[in-house]
Amino acid sequence: MTPLEDRVRQSLAGKAREFPPGAVPPLRRPVRRRRFFSLAYGGGERKEAPASRGWLVPAAAAVTVAAVIVGSATVSHVLHQQNGAGTSVEAAAARNEAASWVAAQVSRSAVVSCDPVMCQALASRGFSGHLDEVLPGVIHIWPSGVIVATATVRREFGGDLNSGYAPGIIASFGSGSSQVDVRVIDPRGAAVYKAAVSADLRSRKLGGAELANSSRITAPAIAWRQLRAGRVDARVLTILTGLAAAHPLSVVAFGAPGPGAGAGSPLRSVEFAWSSEAPGAGRPGSMRAIMAFLNAQGAPFRPAQAAVIRLPDGRAVVRAEFTAPSPLGLLGPGRHTGS
């Protein structure tokens, strides 16, 4: 085995150990379909019919009629049950998607309120932040953070979620009664939260326009529009400003709003590299300075995920992604964080 092969073997083994044994969830079994009728005969043998008897024909007819009535009632009942099962399968799918999204995207420092089933799903996905169980019938004190609004949670709080303490949706999964929303909680109430969101949007527009006007950054037209419209997260704007002060940057794209999130949700990820005018740009290892800068940041400016990736055209760029929800007030006076 060559040294390179040995290095690959050891690196893969080391990487695989990042998946901890305790993270393995229990086996989920597929929903078993009911069989209405069994088509198999017992043993496959037929017995000779006994000699005809006078009472047998009307009795058989009566049994047949009764069987048809009972059968149709059973079919109707089972079909009804199956519709219910379909809904529960959709609900489970939405719940799983939401749990995976929250585990991957929500800040570990945020308190996540959830019903017991969702909390268990989050824990099984290795979510290491604080989980706050919403128990039916128990008075709930709203912590600052995020709530996963499943049907159970909606039943508990009704309209209070939207008009009260959790007005902002950052991601949404499923539809109808199966819908699961991930909402930002602001214990000060909806009005204060909405005012903070508006103020943050104004600050992001100003900051974005400043970057868009800077000669230190190049970007495609759509990225310029997103910057000027205030769509880009304050943390992304801050790290880009910091890096552009050192060398010119080339932004490829902004992204990562939550699925089903409103158009106002800030874009929390960015793909970028040194611009071709920067000294040493395009050389192997030129991204190390960017990675070192990102890794040196403290909260809330340190990305949750950052790596050098290669685009289809062969260009290497850095992809940095920040957690949800986006903190509010980072750029303006009266700093307030939504998380």
Binding site: K15, Q305, A306, E321
Partner: protein, 187 residues
């Protein structure tokens, strides 16, 4: 190489199914549960190496076991269940990677980026290799993972990936060459 919890090796020492062949639901339950117990970690890690994120890896593995459960009665040779599972997991990974590419509107080879914390804890050198492996085309990455992580011989890799053995060898050769170029090492 360090060895810890039941890993890929465990998947090759499966208990032979001794349940009756009537395909009773209870026997399928027990067999699938035993297979899950013995292989879930190794398969999850395989999917994790292919996809780079834990949640997707878990989903792909669960889906593979659900598929096995549904098809248990039709499985001609239940001792080959692990091969079936491995193929299913790889198919699931391909499908996730395809979905990611199409969702982003371009062929992005990379799964979600490595966390900054993982980069620090895991060692820069290891992450450099992993980044290079992740940057390879899917098929080359699969061959490397099956050969150097799962320790499968080329014959089994060919069977799992449904390609010829010669293709396995040439793909591995190309993958190592590409890695050598990126990492500045002789393959």
């Amino acid at each position: 190489m360090e060895v810890d919890e039941p890993d890929v090796a465990a998947s090759r020492t499966l208990p032979r199914p001794d349940a009756p062949q009537h395909g009773a639901a209870a026997s399928a339950d027990a067999m699938v549960a035993a297979l899950y117990e013995a292989n879930v970690l190794a398969l999850s890690r395989l999917a994790y190496l292919m996809l780079g994120d834990q949640a997707s890896a878990e989903d792909v593995v669960q889906e593979a076991f659900c598929g096995l459960y549904r098809r248990w009665d039709r499985l001609r040779d239940s001792t080959r269940a692990v091969y079936y599972l491995r193929s299913s997991v790889l198919n699931g990974c391909r499908s996730v990677l395809r979905h990611r590419s199409s969702r982003r509107g371009r062929t992005l080879e990379q799964p979600p980026a490595l966390s900054a914390e993982a980069a620090v804890l895991g060692g820069e050198e290891r992450e450099e290799v992993i980044r290079a492996v992740i940057g390879l085309p899917h098929r080359q990455r699969e061959v490397l993972v099956l050969r150097y992580y799962c320790d499968l011989p080329d014959e089994q890799i060919a069977s799992v990936m449904r390609i010829r053995q010669s293709t396995v060898r040439s793909t591995a050769h190309r993958a190592l060459e590409a890695l050598g170029r990126v990492l500045k090492e002789t393959p």
